[in-house]
């Protein structure tokens, strides 16, 4: 079995079904849990700290193939291992059919399914949810921190922005490591889905300018942003036109100038990128969208240095981490200083 996207807490083992589905079956059917993903679940139950409860977040999974979790059920029963399923409302019928009886608790609107252990109550389940979020956040923060590469010889001017920096965030370690890439892309896809679900939660939103749109294009304008946009697009169960303008930012080096010829785009753009420091790449992308008669409605990135309002853009930025918090000792200052 290839390495699986699993995070470990002192009290439990955590994973995402959608991440397992991706790793085992590819992104062809990202919202379907198939037999291979079921085997991955069984493998985790059997081999990954089997004395601890297993917490599986089912967010983004809409269907479970017949008998996909049959082995998992047998192993859970044999090993008496508790299983906690989060965000499993969409596959409620499949859980009962595949895994048997469960107890259901509603925590903050989220249905939580508990199998195999009567001692896991609302309090423990709530704690698991909170701790799961914390280990995911810590995982991202740790690996984003590893992306920071200090300049030799002190501060240097950044390639894209007139800032003096003690180093640069390079997303390559996240993109080139399959497991890190899976986690990062999945969380960014969650960010996109959350943005797109906003009208359902806030139908009376007065802010028309930022009202999410049903039809959109994912836009990436950099080498590092491209694979992230592709992955987010594949993982998102929505309409998914992906537009990649290679090397538009942060270092402007367009190789295919004809691709920039103006053709009107009727959808709104959602920008996908790696790190936002000064916001230059975002502004380039914004200008590009305007040139197409469109606009950027939202941005999803791994990390940003400042708060959204400080970039003075007319759209929000969903960011997995705050870069300043990841590397509090690093400094980015204007060249004049």
């Amino acid at each position: 079995m290839r390495p699986l996207p699993v995070l470990r807490h002192d009290d439990f083992v955590y994973s995402r079904l959608k991440a397992l589905a991706w790793v085992t079956n590819g992104t062809g059917l990202p919202t379907l849990l198939q037999a291979n993903a079921g085997r991955a679940v069984a493998h985790i139950i059997e081999h990954d700290e089997p004395t601890k409860p297993l917490v599986l977040d089912c967010k983004g999974i809409g269907e479970v193939d017949d008998h996909a979790l049959e082995n998992a059920r047998t192993l859970l029963q044999n090993q008496q291992r508790p299983l906690v399923l989060l965000n499993a409302g969409a596959i409620d019928a499949s859980i009962k059919r595949e895994l048997g009886e469960y107890s259901l608790i509603l925590i903050g609107g989220m249905p939580v399914y508990i199998l195999g252990d009567d001692t896991i109550d609302r309090g423990i389940a709530s704690r698991f949810i909170q701790q799961a979020k914390e280990i995911v956040d810590a995982y991202v923060a740790t690996h984003v921190k590893e992306c920071f590469q200090k300049y030799e010889g002190g501060r240097q001017r950044m390639a894209s922005t007139p800032l003096l920096a003690s180093g640069v965030f390079d997303a390559r370690p996240l993109i080139s490591d399959p497991l890190k890439f899976v986690w990062i892309s999945l969380l960014m896809a969650d960010g996109l889905e959350d943005f797109l679900d906003r009208p359902l939660e806030q139908p009376q939103s007065a802010d028309e300018a930022n009202k999410p749109t049903r039809h959109f294009r994912l836009l990436a304008v950099s080498l590092r942003g491209s694979p992230l946009a592709a992955a987010v697009g594949l993982l998102s169960g929505r309409h998914k036109t992906i537009e990649i303008v290679d090397h538009m930012g942060p270092k402007y080096k367009i190789l295919e100038e004809p691709s920039l010829r103006s053709t009107a785009v009727e959808e709104d753009y959602i920008y996908v990128g790696d790190f936002v420091i000064g916001g230059t790449e975002l502004r380039i992308a914004q200008a590009y969208a305007r040139s197409k008669g469109s606009r950027i409605k939202h941005a999803v990135v791994i990390g940003r240095m400042l708060e959204t309002a400080e970039y003075n853009l007319d759209f929000d930025i969903t960011s997995l981490v705050n870069l300043h918090e990841c590397s509090p000792n690093e400094r980015f200052v204007f060249l004049d200083y």
């Binding site: 079956n25 062809g28 059917l29 990202p30 919202t31 379907l32 198939q34 037999a35 291979n36 809409g62 269907e63 193939d65 017949d66 008998h67 049959e70 019928a93 059919r97 049903r214 039809h215 169960g237 929505r238 309409h239």
Partner: protein
Amino acid sequence: MSATAEKTILPINVGPLNGLGSLCFHAAKTLSHFSDLYREGHVPKVVWDLRNVQPRHMSMAGLTAFLATAYRLRKFTTNAPSVQVSWNPQVFSFWEDISLFRIVSEHDIFRWPDAVTGGSWFGDTNPNTELLMFEYKEHVPDRSDNLDYWKTWKDTVRQKFKDLLLLRCGRLFESTWRSIDFPEKLKDQVAVASAELVVNSILWGGSAAFVGLQRTSNGITVAVCDSGHGFFHSLYAQESSKQKVYPQNNLEALVIGSLINTREYGLRRVINTVIQNGGKVLMSSYDSELHWKEPLWMRIQQATIETEGRPVDLGMLTQTIGSPVTGSPTDEDRRDGFCRLWNYGLRGVRIAFEIPLRREEQFR
């Protein structure tokens, strides 16, 4: 008794191919005649008569069922049967675009007139339609030999088919300006349902599966057809410990086949999914045809629940289905679901389902 050379010419008119019933109505009697001749030791020279097909009036289910039938018949002819067609470039373009020419040629199912194959018919008449053939040439394992291996085999075949489906038909699931915004859900359901039917064709039918997919502005239609053993025979062959009742005819076999899985896996899940989405399922095997729509499916489900704990009363279930319609079904039949019997049947199983697409305005 050795078969004689192809001396007798047997034209088989397939009709307009505008539905499964139409194919059965036009071709089944002649196919039955072919079987009789073959049993008597003759191998007639078959000529498929496709002159009645009209552009924009062919149904994917009818076309797929025809292909499955022609594939089966080819095993009993010395040479590939020839085809009679009316000269209509629009029809040829459609066949080219849905891969009919390619599948027929690759498997030597029948022989097109040279004038047809010599032309270039790329027309993009309907890029939202596709025909697939899924054949499993290796040994199909038996459930009684090794259950775990058998289950893994089923998963593998399902997976292979899903990969093929996405490779060839992925574009059919893409959302458009005016269609649904959750295409993944539909894609998952169609992939799960059609993979299940394909595995059934291979496993229980012992036959290659032909799959037709069509995406229209109203919905997505999938037809999975084979020319295998059919429901009736495979229900006897399964020897499942879960099976308590056995059919006396093909219609009963269709009913049992729809409901046999009490855990709501397999075909029962397929029907449930389609009905829950507001769609319909058409099942056909030999001389019987069963159209599941929500009212009829609800009635039969209720009848099944009422017999829970007791052996299924097959008589009561067929009574719930109602008498087979004679002639054309009424509007009420079409709305509620119905069954139908033909004088002559077609070998194998044909299952077609249609899931309507929710359009954007329905979200508001």
